[in-house]
């Protein structure tokens, strides 16, 4: 029997028992839809993490005061720079010099960060201020300038504004040359940053100014020879891991602390990114496994339907065999039918799963710990994988019933009473 004729015969079965066919297919749809949605959400999550951490650059190392410990938190720890930091554990220009003379260091930027009151166009708010070393900031920034320019040597009352702060915070968007009062002092906007979308030091909502003047306007007290963090750009991204270890060691000896009393933390974003990726990978793998269970239930549904139709059609199988159909043809007949269930379920499942994925951002679900919108990424790979997988599942769940049908002896099948 030609394959096309077998296919048409299978199709006639699917069409004739419409209700049962659809119920079977719904089982597959649910399974495929959840797999597609979860894979897409997982990929979206990965991209989110990559994008957010990507703002840092792979060759950037940051040193901040305070120390995370695996078993808890050091008593003097201050991780959030916005919290008023006791001056005793700020980083000093001695630390700055120690770092600067290490091999593999390209640029070092001592930052002074804090909060300050801002008045603009009669609106008042509190913003994050980052005081930077104007000579190196432009060389290390990974966000980019949208309008205007970076800060330069000699700037004193100039500021650069983050994208979201400029465009989304005030009724009247901040534009170049607008006067802004920060911490009681008057400033002029010389540049607006591009949107970074990342954690990148809060660049989207922050204000950048020379570090000298930042010490005067922020509410925290940071003395002249101190920094709230130090950012290092390595000469090469491959050196980051070694440089990080080197910085830790040199700073420990210059600050006269040991691993137990360590009072600073060295962060290499590239390393964090790897860790975060592996966390999200594990998470999406785990979620996919759960989704796979519902797909398995769908497969059992197919197998069940196929067994029922083999039973119901025993007489027809006998008829086909009497007319000369062989085992292989009967086998194909049922496998194609279960494959159709898989394929149709797969198609609708992909559509439903994609719809769910696309709805995710609108539902405003916040990904725990990432502080951003959740998004889903549907790739062609996911779609083809889901379709192929559901067809395979369909065919596989049909194998046992089909073999059962194919091996019936024509006499027994014909004698079977319904």
């Amino acid at each position: 029997m030609k394959l096309l004729d077998i296919f048409l015969l299978s199709l006639s079965h699917v069409k004739k028992s419409r209700m049962r066919s659809w119920l079977t297919i719904v089982g597959v749809i649910i399974g495929v839809a959840s797999v597609v949605a979860i894979i897409s959400i997982g990929q979206g999550m990965q991209e989110n993490v990559q994008q957010r951490l990507g703002g840092f650059g792979a060759d950037i190392i940051t040193v901040i005061p305070g120390y995370f410990r695996a078993t808890g938190v050091h008593s003097e720890m201050h991780t959030d720079r916005s919290v008023s930091t006791s001056s005793s554990i700020n980083l000093s220009d001695r630390d700055y010099r120690v770092i600067k003379q290490l091999p593999g260091v390209m640029y070092v930027n001592g930052l002074v960060s804090g909060k300050a009151d801002l008045v603009y166009d009669n609106e008042k708010t509190v913003v994050s201020i980052t005081g930077v070393d104007t000579s190196v900031w432009r060389l290390m920034d990974t966000t980019g300038i949208e309008e205007g320019r970076y800060l330069q040597a000699g700037d004193s009352n100039s500021i650069v504004v983050g994208y979201n702060l400029a465009h989304g915070t005030f009724l009247q968007p901040i534009t170049l040359n607008r006067p802004i009062t920060i911490g009681g002092k008057n400033f002029r906007v010389v540049g607006i940053l591009k949107q970074s979308g990342g954690f990148g030091g809060g660049s989207d909502t922050g204000i950048y100014m020379p570090s000298g003047i930042a010490r005067d306007v922020i509410s925290e007290k940071v003395s002249n020879n101190q920094f709230t963090s130090i950012v290092i750009k390595a000469t090469d991204a491959t050196l980051v891991e070694y440089l990080k270890a080197d910085i830790e060691q040199k700073l420990m000896s210059s600050r006269q602390v040991n691993p137990r009393t360590k009072d600073f933390t060295v962060i290499a974003s590239a390393l964090i990114r790897e860790q975060m990726s592996s966390v999200t990978e594990t998470l999406s793998f785990f979620l996919s496994a759960i989704a796979a269970v519902s797909l398995l239930v769908g497969a059992i549904g197919i197998a069940n339907t196929m067994f029922m139709s083999v039973m119901e059609r025993t007489k027809q199988i006998g008829l086909l065999k009497a007319m000369g159909a062989g085992e292989r043809e009967i086998m194909k007949l049922f496998l194609i039918e279960s494959g159709i269930f898989g394929l149709v379920g797969g198609i609708f499942g992909v559509i439903a799963g994609s719809a769910i994925s696309l709805l995710i951002p609108f539902l405003g679900i916040q990904a725990v710990g990432f502080g951003g919108d959740m998004k889903a990424t549907i790739t062609m790979g996911t779609i083809f994988f889901a379709l192929g997988f559901s067809v395979v599942i369909g065919v596989l769940s049909g194998i046992i019933p089909a073999r059962h049908a194919a091996r019936m002896r024509p006499v027994d099948a014909l004698r079977y009473d319904q």
């Binding site: 069409k15 007489k315 008829l319 000369g324 043809e329 024509p410 006499v411 014909l414 319904q418």
Partner: protein
């Protein structure tokens, strides 16, 4: 040459622990062009005899020769091919494929045996006309009466130009009128040279044949 020849055929079924001897040394010849009725009460082994004639089953002992060839020498696949091509079956009930319409049912054996598309359509239309159901070509089995279904089944059984039309109680589920129509078709086909073997328990039905073999206890009653 005989179309089918049964030589001292024995058939034993085991029903659980009990062995049932359905055929006990049945010998029978079906000659080309004859209209043979095999008669007998239930339990006489006539259905088992039909399975043997139709090559649906193989004997426990003895030989079945289809056109002189021992079917025991064929494997399952070869047997299926030969059986499907050379024997046209008409069963008592559930004869038609329910998901296919009348003409598709007639075409089914030809599709199984991979006839050409043009031949499939010419032949199926011709055969539906022969049984008087041209107007019902697109009707599904659930939309046809029992008599119509049996006529479609006959058209289908003829589609591969079989040596033999083998009918198992073809009128068993039909009223007198519809039964008569079906039997008329058999007679008509036989007069055109089609060999017909019919299994029945009904005297009147058997009377339409030109040879009657009576079975009892798994063999021919003398």
């Amino acid at each position: 040459m005989n179309i089918i020849e049964l030589e001292d055929v024995w058939k034993t079924y085991s029903m659980g622990e009990v062995e049932v001897q359905a055929l006990k040394g049945l010998s029978l010849k079906v000659k080309p062009g004859e209209f043979l009725a095999i008669m007998g009460p239930s339990g006489s082994g006539k259905s088992t005899a039909m399975n043997m004639i139709g090559c649906l089953d193989i004997p426990t002992r003895g030989r079945v020769l289809l056109e002189g060839q021992d079917i025991a020498a064929l494997n399952e696949k070869e047997l299926a091919k030969i059986r499907g091509k050379k024997i046209g079956f008409v069963f008592q009930s559930h004869n038609l494929y329910p998901t296919l319409n009348a003409i598709e049912n007639v075409q089914l054996p030809m599709r199984i045996h991979e006839f050409g598309e043009a031949e499939i359509w010419d032949k199926s239309e011709e055969l539906l006309g022969l049984v008087g159901l041209s107007g019902r070509a697109r009707h599904y089995p659930s939309q046809m009466s029992g008599g119509q279904s049996q006529r479609v089944a006959i058209a289908r059984a003829l589609s591969t130009n079989p040596l033999l039309l083998l009918a198992d109680e073809p009128t068993g589920n039909l009223d007198t009128e519809a039964g008569k129509e079906v039997l008329d078709i058999f007679s008509q086909l036989n007069s055109r040279g089609v060999t017909v073997v019919m299994i029945t328990h009904d005297e009147k039905t058997a009377a339409r044949a030109n040879r009657i073999v009576r079975m009892i206890d798994g063999t021919i009653a003398s």
